[in-house]
């Protein structure tokens, strides 16, 4: 992860690339961790739902297209 940010002052036109403060780096790492955890949970939920759906189709011995026909 880059530890710099680009600041553009719109009044002066000055552009600076500055180092993140220790606090900003810590916040960024915490945000990255939170994002990774949320994404992992989302991926798990999707996989669980897909498995549940596959199990149900297997129990009914029908394909996904056939299930769509039934619901349509």
């Amino acid at each position: 992860m880059a530890d710099t940010k680009i600041i553009v002052n719109c009044e002066t036109g000055e552009t600076l690339e500055v180092e993140l403060t220790a606090e900003e780096v810590a916040q960024r790492e915490a945000d990255a961790q939170a994002y990774a955890e949320a994404k992992a949970q989302e991926d798990f939920a999707k996989a669980a739902k897909a498995a549940e759906k596959a199990d149900l189709l297997a129990k009914l011995s029908i394909t996904e297209d056939e299930a769509k026909l039934l619901l349509g």
Binding site: M1, I6, V8, N9, C10, T15, L20, E29, D31, A32
Partner: protein, 170 residues
Amino acid sequence: MPDTFIKIASVTVGSGGASSIDFTSIPSTYTDLVVKYSIRTTSANQIDYLKCEFNGSTTSYTERVLYGYGTTVGSASNSGSYDNIINGGANTASTFSNGEIYVPNYAGSNYKSFSSDSVAESNTTSNNMLMLAAELWSNTSAITSIKLSDLSSGTIAQYSTATLYGIKNS
């Protein structure tokens, strides 16, 4: 109908990338603001989300999005301001995502509604996405700064660009 479109500032990310692009000290002399960008990240993701935050505020954002992803279409509501999709580092090399954020009446004292459109582009049959978003920042302050960063805290890649325009209604 706004009839002027003036470039306020523009930035190109240098070698090593950047964690964010911050437009600060935005003058209140325009009617609307527009950010146009061409961005990708260096993350391990195929698609990332570009956060847009005003005045350093990380709260009071809500949004409703419409998207197309491959053959799937859908909509979603989010609380947060990660309304723009961008290519992650794992998507097609050297392909940048173009997008726009439009902020009308940014200097007023009402809550700020804004909109955006964005794409993630790929030369494969997957990881192509388009998103339109209607958003609200429930804050009455005039917008004086805009920060663009990656939701997953990835790095904005070298050669990414962002340009801020001001639009006047006279």
